[in-house]
């Protein structure tokens, strides 16, 4: 006689095991899913709340800054004008150029200056050596110094036209 009972029981037991495993894993998956979903929802709600509060904060700050528009306008005007004034103050003062050409030994009879260009001098001295020394002194400041013809005037003076350009100390 063949005994079918244990095989049937075995089959049932195996099926019950599979059922338990499926139900348990489903429950685990569902639990994890619910926890993750709740976390996601919580994060979403937090972000939504944060966004509206930050937007409100930005709005309030903007309003407050707009109330101080006069101050801000003054700041921007000052900053812009500082650039202009700063540049104007840095411009070369030509009164500082005159001492460079003054010398006790010579008489400057002409001094022509043009901003950005060369400037010309007409200088006379009783002694040609003084004139030479004077030009040497000027050449230290203006390496591109150009001297015209030296002439002897009826009054007994030596006269020269000088063209100055650039300058190392201007």
């Amino acid at each position: 006689m063949i005994n079918f009972l244990p095989r049937e029981q075995q089959k049932k037991a195996k099926l019950a095991g599979i059922q338990r495993l499926v139900v348990t894993s489903t429950t685990v998956v569902l639990t994890l899913y619910i926890v993750a979903g709740a976390g996601w929802m919580g994060w979403w709600a937090y972000l939504a709340r944060r966004e509206s509060s930050v937007s409100l904060q930005v709005e309030n700050l903007n309003r407050e800054i707009e109330r101080m528009a006069v101050k801000e306008g003054l700041v921007r005007q000052i900053a812009a004008r500082l650039e202009v004034v700063g540049t104007a103050l840095e411009e070369k003062k030509i009164s500082g150029l005159i001492p460079q050409v003054l010398d006790e030994r010579v008489v400057v009879s002409a001094w022509n200056y043009r901003l950005g260009g060369v400037y010309r001098l007409t200088v006379s001295a009783a002694n040609p050596t003084d004139l030479e020394d004077y030009m040497e002194k000027l050449q230290k400041i203006y390496p591109n110094l150009k001297a015209g013809t030296v002439s002897w005037t009826a009054g007994g003076d030596w006269k020269v036209d000088i063209v100055l350009e650039g300058g190392t100390n201007t």
């Binding site: 059922q19 499926v22 139900v23 894993s25 489903t26 998956v29 569902l30 899913y33 979903g37 996601w40 994060w43 979403w44 972000l47 939504a48 944060r50 966004e51 930050v54 937007s55 904060q57 930005v58 700050l61 903007n62 407050e64 800054i65 101080m68 006069v70 101050k71 801000e72 306008g73 003054l74 700041v75 921007r76 005007q77 000052i78 900053a79 812009a80 004008r81 500082l82 202009v84 004034v85 700063g86 104007a88 103050l89 411009e91 003062k93 030509i94 009164s95 005159i98 001492p99 050409v101 003054l102 400057v108 009879s109 002409a110 001094w111 022509n112 200056y113 043009r114 901003l115 007409t122």
Partner: protein, 234 residues
């Protein structure tokens, strides 16, 4: 009676529930993954904006309107917002008086002397030029004249000097000006940091002298009576 596959309903329902909710999350317009990421990015950006605005507001609160107005007024004295014809004349006259020079003649190329328009733009931006004819004794005296002239506010720039001519010394003085600027800055734009530069410029301006009101009034009186204002340079 219990069904043979009754136990399978539970995992199938759970599976369907998960599939349905995941699909909903993906499809949702404000609840989806990418939307949430975008929102997160937006919040971070807005937080940065808040920090910027708070910093700007803190600076603005600290600044005194009266002090700023005084600073701006000082800067405008140095470089005016429009051509200051009588100020330029007064400067030249003052320098001539101090250095003991006789002012023979002056003429100004004025052009447009309107203030800046409402939109803070100026149609004509050329500087005011004043041509002056002086009776100078020597270069020392000319130097003194130029020193006094270059020490006064508004800042004047001497662009041309002709010393040694038969008809006297010709000097061309240029007075710059700068109209109001239209900033067009937005609320969240940070404020320019100008304090250190302001200090430097103020220190430099201390070396300059301002024209007194009496000098200005005198120049205005004389300007209407003599000189050649409004015409071309001689």
């Amino acid at each position: 009676m219990k069904s043979k596959w009754g136990w399978a309903v539970y995992p199938v329902l759970v599976g369907l529930f998960i599939l349905f909710t995941v699909k909903s999350v993906i499809d949702a317009k404000s609840f989806g993954w990418s939307q949430t990421r975008e929102r997160q990015k937006r919040v971070a950006e807005e937080q940065q904006t808040v920090s910027r605005l708070e910093a700007k507001l803190a600076i603005l609160r600290k600044l005194s309107e009266d002090e700023m107005e005084a600073d701006l007024s000082e800067l405008i004295t140095a470089v005016p917002v429009s051509k200051q014809l009588f100020a330029a004349v007064a400067q030249v006259r003052m320098a001539a008086t101090v250095s003991g020079i006789k002012l023979e003649k002056y003429s100004a190329q004025v052009g447009d002397i309107r203030e800046a328009t409402v939109s803070a733009q100026k149609a004509n931006s050329d500087a005011l030029q004043l041509a002056v004819l002086l009776n100078v004794f020597d270069l020392h005296q000319l130097r003194e004249f130029l020193e006094v002239l270059e020490r006064q506010l508004p800042v004047a720039r001497v662009t041309e000097v002709e010393f040694g001519g038969k008809s006297g010394v010709r000097v061309t003085v240029k007075q710059g000006y700068s109209p109001w600027v239209k900033s067009g800055a937005t609320v969240d734009q940070p404020l320019p940091d100008y304090q250190s530069k302001l200090l430097q410029v103020k220190n430099k301006l201390e070396l300059y002298e301002r024209l007194s009101q009496s000098n200005m009034a005198e120049a205005e009186e004389i300007g209407t009576a003599s000189g050649n204002l409004g015409g071309s340079l001689f």
